[in-house]
């Protein structure tokens, strides 16, 4: 068996496969199928300072090889996360990534500050949620705003800080460089792409929010391209995600430059996807005589 361990921005992951925020809750629902310790890590449901109800339903629409969602960061607030979820997650032998978001720079910083000393291993600052009116993608679509929110959160936390980037921009590498310059320890990408579906009979958008974030296999080539561009532009490590569905996708994403990967929408059809992806990658490494998964990071041979 190859060595699947990854040291990502100073955090130990026993394998490079992480469950993506918003697709896996806090892990409780999947423990009926397998122990969470099979995963390298979990990026928990996006947490805000106060409880949020999210958007009205329908919040999901199927698309060719993917889906749109417009959940809108429904969550119980950071105090509930700290009191009710972190103690349970700490027993699971898994890297815990606290995904945080806020309507203002100050709110993001306050959530991050509250997580100091709670035992979470890493912060993933979401500056790219397409489903909220304030904050969210507004932070992630200009270098100035991305810098400002990264700076505030950097000052509020000693934990490794990863910034989750929006693909809904002209030049994602410039945003990555901006957050790197403000002290981000890593970046993760891509969040969902803004999309829309319409019921042709009712002439109504399927999502009550009209628009939502596209994820699933359909976005994978875009994600690979963006991870490749960002990995070539920054020195900090990249956690790659966006449509990873099979172990081959996982290898491909790491060749593009991701030091670790997140699996999201694929879990809905196949709850075992993250486990199968980690196992499949391991077998491929063995077959190719590669001793350590980290050896393949960024090893694409571009023309």
């Amino acid at each position: 068996m190859a060595d699947m361990k990854v040291n990502f921005a100073g955090v130990e992951f026993k394998n490079p496969v992480v469950a993506a925020s918003g697709t896996y809750g806090y892990g409780r629902e999947y423990e009926a199928l397998y122990p969470l310790s099979k995963l390298g890590g979990i990026s928990v449901k996006g947490t805000t300072l106060h409880k949020r109800d999210g958007n009205p339903a329908p919040r999901v629409a199927e698309t060719p090889s993917g889906m749109l969602n417009s959940v809108g960061l429904q969550n119980g607030g950071v105090d509930k996360f700290i009191n009710c979820e972190i103690p349970n997650l700490l027993t699971k032998n898994i890297a815990i990534i606290a995904n945080i978001a806020g309507a203002t720079v100050e709110e993001c910083a306050e959530v991050a500050a509250k997580l100091n000393g709670t035992g979470v291993h890493m912060i993933e600052l979401n500056i790219s949620c397409p489903n909220v009116k304030q904050g969210g993608a507004a932070f992630g679509t200009s270098c100035e705003n991305a810098s400002a929110v990264t700076r505030a959160v950097r000052n509020a936390t000693d934990l490794p800080l990863m910034v989750k980037l929006s693909p809904n921009v002209t030049d994602i590498a410039s945003i990555a460089k901006a957050v790197e310059a403000e002290g981000a320890d890593a970046v993760s990408l891509i969040n969902t792409l803004l999309g829309m579906r319409i019921d042709i009979n009712s002439r109504r958008p399927i999502l009550k929010n009209n628009v939502g974030g596209l994820s699933g296999a359909a976005v994978f080539p875009i994600a690979v391209r963006m991870v490749w561009q960002v990995a070539n532009a920054v020195k900090i490590p990249v956690m790659g995600m966006g449509g990873i569905t099979t172990w081959e996708d996982g290898i491909e994403m790491m060749l593009a430059g991701a030091s670790a990967i997140q699996v999201g929408a694929a879990i809905f059809k196949n709850p075992f996807a993250p486990v199968e992806i980690a196992d499949g990658m391991n077998e491929w490494l063995d077959k190719n005589g590669i001793k350590c998964v980290s050896e393949i990071v960024g090893r694409v041979k571009p023309w």
Binding site: E29, L33, K45, M67, Q74, I267, K269, P271
Partner: protein, 256 residues
């Protein structure tokens, strides 16, 4: 929470009318723990999301699970093409089912259209103490009437056009039932306007009511939070989720 994911053999397939199919799966591990009103989440080749389908009948002895579903789009159409002997990729049983009261208690079970299948397990539980009211647009799409009769329950069939059973909505039949004898509980599944009308009648009569709701889902297990439904408890409104908090809810907790 306890559920399984697996590929289970289709042991029986029936076509009940132009758009409604009746599949029986051999999945003992699921039937061992499945309850009335729960659902299963079914993968379809070529589609990125599973389809949530309510459980119609649980045969624990044989380990057979029966689902009855309507072809609504391309996904359910593809599902309907599966044949006896094929495998179906199922996650289940999922969600919160109906609260089944002690034998001897009386129940009115109401199903509208494709909301009728989950009422079969309810009828089986209460037997002769159950009245099943089912409603359809027209007689040619009425389903499961013999199954309901076989449970010993009293059955009342309503059609909008009067082509089978009595003409009119299930609410009219319910009103008559409530005038003659009050049940201990009402269980209902069907379109939202129908549920809303039933809940109003039941509330006036002071009868506990449980409703089974439907919403577009992704994970089916309570992790992704897409299948939101507005509920109220102790005066406070919140977003519950149909897959995990439901599909069966106490009617008084649902904000219609």
């Amino acid at each position: 929470m306890n559920y399984f994911q697996g590929k289970y053999k289709i042991v029986k397939k029936l076509k009940l009318n132009d758009t409604v199919y009746d599949f029986t799966l051999s999945c003992k591990e699921i039937t061992d723990i499945a309850l009335a009103g729960q659902f299963v989440h079914i993968a379809v080749d070529g589609f990125s999301l599973r389809r949530p389908i309510s459980i119609c009948e649980i045969n624990r002895e044989k380990g057979w699970l029966r689902i009855v579903f309507e072809v609504r789009g391309k996904g359910t159409e593809a599902l309907s093409k599966l044949c006896e002997g094929d495998l179906m990729d199922v996650i289940g049983p999922l969600g919160k089912g109906f609260d089944l009261l002690k034998p001897g208690k009386k129940c009115i079970a109401i199903g509208g259209g494709i909301g009728t299948p989950p009422m079969l397990e309810v009828a089986k539980h209460y037997g002769a103490n159950c009245t099943v009211i089912s409603g359809f647009r027209t007689g040619s799409i009425a389903i499961l009437q013999e199954d309901f009769a076989d449970t010993g329950a009293k059955t009342i069939l309503c059609t909008d056009d009067g082509s089978a059973g009595r003409k009119g909505f299930v609410t009219e039949a319910l009103e008559e039932c409530l005038n003659s004898e009050k049940p201990d509980i009402i269980c209902a599944c069907g379109p939202m306007p129908m549920l809303k009308a039933i809940v109003e009648l039941a509330k006036n009569a002071g009868i506990r009511t449980q409703v089974s709701l439907e919403q577009r889902m992704a994970c089916g297990v309570g992790a992704c939070l897409v299948c939101a439904c507005r509920c109220v408890k102790d005066g406070e409104e919140f977003m519950a989720h149909v897959c995990k908090d439901g599909p069966v809810f106490e009617a008084e907790e649902v904000v219609f």
